[in-house]
Amino acid sequence: MNTARLDAKQGGGWLGAYVLAYLVFLYLPILLIPLFSFNNSIQAAFPLQGFTLEWYGTLVGNSALSGALATSLVIGAIAATGATLCGITVSYMDLYGRSPLAATISAIARLPILIPGVIVGISLLILVNLAGFGPSRIAIVLGHVLVALPTTVVVMRSRFAAIPKTIREAALDLGASDWTTFRRVMLPLSLPAIISAFMLAFLTSFDEFIVAFFLAGTEPTLPLYIWSQLRFPKSLPTVMALGTAILAVSFVIAALAEILRHRGLAATRRPAPASLSKPEETERGELQWHST
């Protein structure tokens, strides 16, 4: 037993070094974007030519860029609202609705993770053309609701599942209607997860390119604007400055969402620690990374 533990520790040392190297591999390419965004050269190459803020200056007063930013923000806010609303209702009914329909909807809602983005894009392109409004902001919103849906469903589902069943039963026992129980008990208890799901859905939409590419009308989103700039070698430094800003915002929002989600889970974990380790709650599946 003792030797086994010692071995495990030594293995842990090697593994620890490996994990460190893995993190370097994960972050190094991404961190090159901020690095070269401050480099006083049009080319992203070593040696570095000196520090400049010139590329950030080119971002200011660029009307195409600010238009794309506004489009992305509006689409992100609406799509995240829609995806969060769907995530809340779908996972709630999946857990408490006890109907085959609710379970089916929940299963289909997690399906987009098994459909490549290009197919989501073309299927919605056909749909919006059939519906009459064609590629437009609304079309992108619909696409982003789909792309963000698996995330919001999984985040909300793990949250609702972590609320002790007795709380909801007590509310119903005391005569609260379904609606009151949902609105006054379950929603407030899951508020951190709702905000977290919203932020993650917003991020998904804000950074999404593949689906938006098919559904954009005349107003590009920010990733589509970046894509259009990638063709011009001269605008690469500007793209890197813009990319740095986007990365910074994404990191901050993702960090806040993560903190909120953990805080929410920790709050209910304390009263019922045993119920969480049951296998049905760690239902192994595609998106179970949110169950930590």
Binding site: P29, C86, P116
Partner: protein
């Protein structure tokens, strides 16, 4: 008597139809209209002839005949499968030790590590691919760094616009997908199993091979699936770092709905991709069942 009635009617039977309807409506609309109906349209369109109109004309199998008989589509499909397969293998094999460390050795650093490993997932996919473009370019980071350090005297074209560049870029972009399912599977292995194995004299490697690995297979398969699916249909990475030699099936679908403007044929290609994915899912299901007897 009355208490019995109350407990029997608790809690689901009392739910009002209006509440159920309102709660099922948003998800129902999205799943049935935006997912099922929209995918149904793709299937429908795949069997139509192209006459320039939105839903095509007449019913035909010609699109599928072309997909099945034209060697171009076989080449591209096999290449997509090859690239996606390599990416999946690379991500799963490199992610496994990370997931293992998280599950068994991370201790108090686990939360922070998990956060750091998933954070790139929430950053722009386009920017992550773009980062690799500046790394691999002819006068890019890697070439200039190699010359700067004296390893090479001339920049090489060998990095950008190769299928290898696509594999590396995609493996980097989808690595967080692979870590988490494996980690969850490893984390749910009862520690008592490992203790029992070591008590009964199993060496660490034996208990890894006989207990940990088989028990984590569902996570490995789930990881393989979530990496394989988005990569097999990807068209951004081949376009940015792949060059013409690594055109993938997603590129062709995108072209049919763009420049080529033959939507029914593009839909048929999409159906073919979905069939390939379905086949992979079924294989994974089958493999999953073999390892299904978890305790």
């Amino acid at each position: 008597m009355s208490t019995i009635v109350v407990t029997q009617s608790l809690p689901e039977t009392r739910s009002s139809p209006a509440f159920r309807f309102a709660m099922l409506l948003p998800g129902g609309l999205v799943t049935f209209l935006l997912i099922l109906f929209a995918l149904g349209l793709v299937f429908f369109l795949a069997f139509r002839g192209n006459d320039g109109s939105l839903l095509g004309a007449g019913f035909t199998l010609a699109n599928f005949v072309t997909v099945a008989t034209d060697p171009l589509y076989w080449t591209v499909t096999l290449r997509s499968l090859g690239i996606a397969g390599l990416v999946t293998l690379a991500t799963v094999v490199t992610a496994y030790p990370v997931a293992y460390y998280l599950a068994f050795h991370a201790g108090r650093r686990r939360g922070l590590l998990l956060f750091l490993l998933t954070l790139p997932f929430w950053t722009s996919y386009l920017l992550r691919v773009f980062a690799w473009k500046i790394v691999l370019a002819y006068n890019g980071v890697l070439n200039s760094a190699l010359i700067e350090s004296g390893i090479w005297s001339e920049p090489t074209l060998a990095f950008l616009n190769t299928p290898a560049a696509v594999v590396v870029t995609l493996a980097h972009a989808y690595s967080p997908f692979a870590i988490l399912p494996i980690y969850v599977a490893l984390d749910t292995i009862p520690k008592s199993l490992l203790e029992a194995a070591s008590d009964l004299g199993a060496k660490p490697f034996t208990s890894f091979r006989r207990i940990v690995l088989p028990n984590s297979m569902p996570g490995v398969l789930a990881a393989a699936l979530v990496v394989f699916v988005p990569t097999v249909g990807d068209y951004v990475t081949p376009a940015l770092v792949g060059g013409p030699a690594s055109t993938m099936i997603g590129t062709l679908i995108q072209a049919e709905f763009g420049k080529a403007n033959d939507w029914p044929f593009g839909a048929a290609l999409a159906v073919a991709v979905m069939l390939v994915i379905l086949a992979v899912v079924l294989v994974v299901r089958f493999a999953d069942r073999r390892y299904g007897s978890r305790t």
